[in-house]
């Protein structure tokens, strides 16, 4: 049996409590508060204690999906990426880059937000990028 504790940060509000994921044989079993963390000092709220539950949910998407004949069907990554790239390029070529918008996320990491706005600005070529800070 392998058991380890992996440090992370709770994603259920903007406080930023330090958590430890209890990982047994490659599966997350529980979430614990990090005792030494400067923000939460070994405490968590009800959402934090249950942070791992959404990770393990059976409702998680397990593969990319593509709409075919009106229904979302399983697809490979190559297919899903190519269809997305082709459609975005087609729209950009026909109507210009400002006809595309990107909504980035307050739940993604800094690195991913940085890349998402880089993608919008450098690859698509528009500043139409926003997120839900207002909502």
């Amino acid at each position: 049996m392998e058991c380890k504790f992996v440090p992370s940060v709770c994603s259920y509000c903007g406080t930023g409590c330090g958590v430890l994921f209890e990982v047994v044989n490659g599966k997350i079993k529980k979430t614990l508060p990090m005792k030494s963390h400067p923000v939460n000092q070994g405490k968590l709220c009800i959402k934090g204690w249950n942070l791992h539950e959404h990770v393990n949910s059976f409702m998680r998407l397990k593969s990319p999906l593509i709409r075919e004949n009106g229904r979302l069907q399983k697809a490979t990554w190559n297919e899903a990426i190519q269809i997305t790239a082709d459609n975005l390029k087609k729209i950009s070529d026909t109507y210009g880059p400002d006809s595309i918008g990107v909504l980035v996320s307050a739940k993604m990491t800094n690195e991913e937000n940085y890349l998402a706005q880089k993608f919008t600005r450098a690859v698509i070529g528009t500043n139409n990028v926003d997120h839900c800070a207002r909502l």
Partner: protein
């Protein structure tokens, strides 16, 4: 936040306005209780009786949307009683005269009438806040989600500067962020007018720097906000939309409006953990890895950038958002290749010199670092504006009170406000599928005062129909003294009782474009089963 979460403990006075802290930021609320144990004074201003109200030295339920009047009223009394920080105002601020002139008209009598707060309470709020330095002001969406959101924030800043409470420990103006990386998403340039570290796209030097770093020429024209994008979808000028980890069908201010807008798109791609309401109508859905399945950093409310570590392999055929973006970019002809999130972090830190420039994964460790952290020897910054404001002198703004976009009238006699409850997060995509959280609250509900319930013959649990000028929805009634007579409260987490059927996409702050979720006018009636609403004449 200008200040840090830990500093709240040592405040002399804490003023909470428009934040239900125990429900939405429980581990920040803990610091408020610690401060109370150390004899801090607590002022709570909220249209509802929130849990914190019970522990406050003075708690008021000011009328929805009357924040500017309330804050001006406090400042009127502070100046009248000479409690303001004259030395601080003289050396660190400008335009005090304009503010003093502006708030002169906000006499206690006038404010009491607008905000429905007694003169005695107003006097006590002003005195406690002004005479128990350091005073920390905490707010959340109760201040910002209004047509006067920017005015409300400016009024909070006026109050804090007037009493010398910006630029010192345990004080400040502290917006509590609702999502784990809202701060980071803004810092990273997830906004239509700025690149990373709030470097404006309209500045030719900034555009030159990023164009060089990224090897393409970039547009200097600011883009569309989310509010503008919805309009552009409706008028046909926005054809493609990429949604990453968002569920605008529930979080957008007007469900009907957005529902129609999404239908107008030629192409919608959604990247998410779950088949959210928005993903269900997408053309392509990209299955994203959760936070436990990747490395990276989040930046919390107090500007603390912290590492997250990969705990498990991705579940199913999922990819991290950064890998998806790299593959999509490359497929579109711009090769994006990084070995790891650390590579990306080093690139973004090098382009965000003033705030993230001194950060590396190694330096972040477990505790993280608070920006600004401009160089490798910088210890990070506990509180902002220490000796000087970013712009030099702190500027006072005279702000006039304005009504919300919608006030109750004969047709729509109730005030409706929206918010969160303790067990759920935002649109519920993560918490409602979490068994331990779902069991706490399974359905939506509407809070109604016992007096209103009685006059409408509504019992606990009865289904009521709420309608506004935008639409109509149903929810079970929860009879509660937490809301004043004439007010209703709806939590935002429940897709089957969507609050944004009622709220308005047209009421938003002209500068910040933030929708007025906190105030709408609605009417209420009890659903009577088995009988049509309209009497049929035989």
């Amino acid at each position: 936040m200008t200040n840090s979460i830990g500093e709240i403990e040592d405040a002399g006075c804490i003023f909470v306005i428009g934040s239900n802290t125990t429900a939405c930021h429980p581990l920040i609320a803990r610091r408020i209780f610690r401060a109370k144990e150390k004899r801090a004074k607590l002022i709570v201003a909220d249209p509802r009786n929130i849990q914190l109200s019970r522990y406050a030295d003075v708690a008021v339920n000011h009328r929805l949307g009357s924040d500017v009047a309330l804050l001006n009223g406090m400042m009127h009394l502070i100046i009248k009683n000479k409690w303001h920080a004259t030395d601080y105002i003289a050396t660190r601020t400008e335009d005090f005269d304009k503010l003093a002139e502006g708030v002169a008209a906000y006499t206690p009598e006038r404010v009491s009438a607008i905000a429905e707060v007694t003169i005695g309470d107003l006097e006590r709020m002003a005195e406690l806040y002004a005479t128990h330095s350091p005073a920390a002001l905490l707010y959340a969406m109760g201040i910002t989600q209004h047509v006067t959101g920017v005015d409300n924030v400016k009024s909070c800043c006026n109050l804090a500067m007037l009493t010398g409470n910006v630029g010192i420990a345990s004080a400040g103006v502290n917006p509590l962020r609702g999502q784990n990386n809202v701060q980071g998403a803004c810092d990273m340039g997830g906004l239509p007018n700025v690149l990373t570290g709030y470097q404006p796209v309209s500045d030719p030097k900034v555009i030159e720097k990023f164009s060089k770093a990224w090897g393409v020429s970039l547009s200097q024209r600011p883009g569309l906000t989310i509010t503008d994008m919805v309009q552009a979808m409706l008028d046909g000028s926005l054809k493609g939309l990429v949604v990453i980890g968002e569920n605008p069908k529930l979080s957008d201010p007007d469900w009907n409006h957005l529902h129609h807008a999404l239908k107008e798109l030629d192409f919608l791609v959604v990247q998410d953990l779950f088949l959210s309401e928005t993903a269900q109508v997408a053309d392509v859905v990209l299955s994203a890895a959760s936070l436990a399945e990747k490395d990276g950093t989040f930046t919390n409310s107090e500007r603390r950038c912290m590492r997250i570590h990969q705990a498990i392999a991705p579940i199913g055929d999922c990819l991290s958002d950064w890998e998806i973006i790299c593959r999509l970019s490359t497929a579109m002809g711009y090769e994006m290749k990084y070995e790891s999130p650390e590579d990306i972090f080093d690139e973004l830190a090098s382009l965000t010199e003033a705030s993230y420039g001194g950060m590396t994964y190694e330096r972040l460790g477990i505790d993280g670092l608070q920006w600004p952290c401009p160089d490798l020897n910088h210890p990070g910054t506990l509180y902002l504006h220490k000796d000087t404001f970013k712009r030099g002198l702190g500027k006072f703004h005279a702000i006039e009170y304005q009504h919300p976009a919608e006030m109750p009238d004969e047709s729509y006699p109730f005030f409706l406000t929206t918010g969160r409850m303790f067990a759920h997060f935002h649109t519920g995509t993560m918490t409602r599928i979490s068994p331990s959280l779902d069991i706490e609250q399974r359905t939506g509900y509407v809070e109604i005062n016992p007096k209103d319930a009685e006059s409408l013959d509504i019992q606990e649990g009865d289904i009521v129909i709420l309608s506004s000028r935008r639409g109509e929805m149903e929810a079970p009634a929860r009879i509660s003294e937490d809301v004043k007579p004439g007010n209703l409260f709806l939590p935002i987490h429940f897709g089957e009782n969507p609050t944004n059927v009622l709220t308005s996409a047209e009421a938003f702050d002209p500068l910040a474009k933030i929708p007025e979720f906190k105030v709408s006018a609605v009417k209420v009636k009890k659903l009577v089963e088995g009988r049509p609403d309209v009497d049929v004449v035989c």
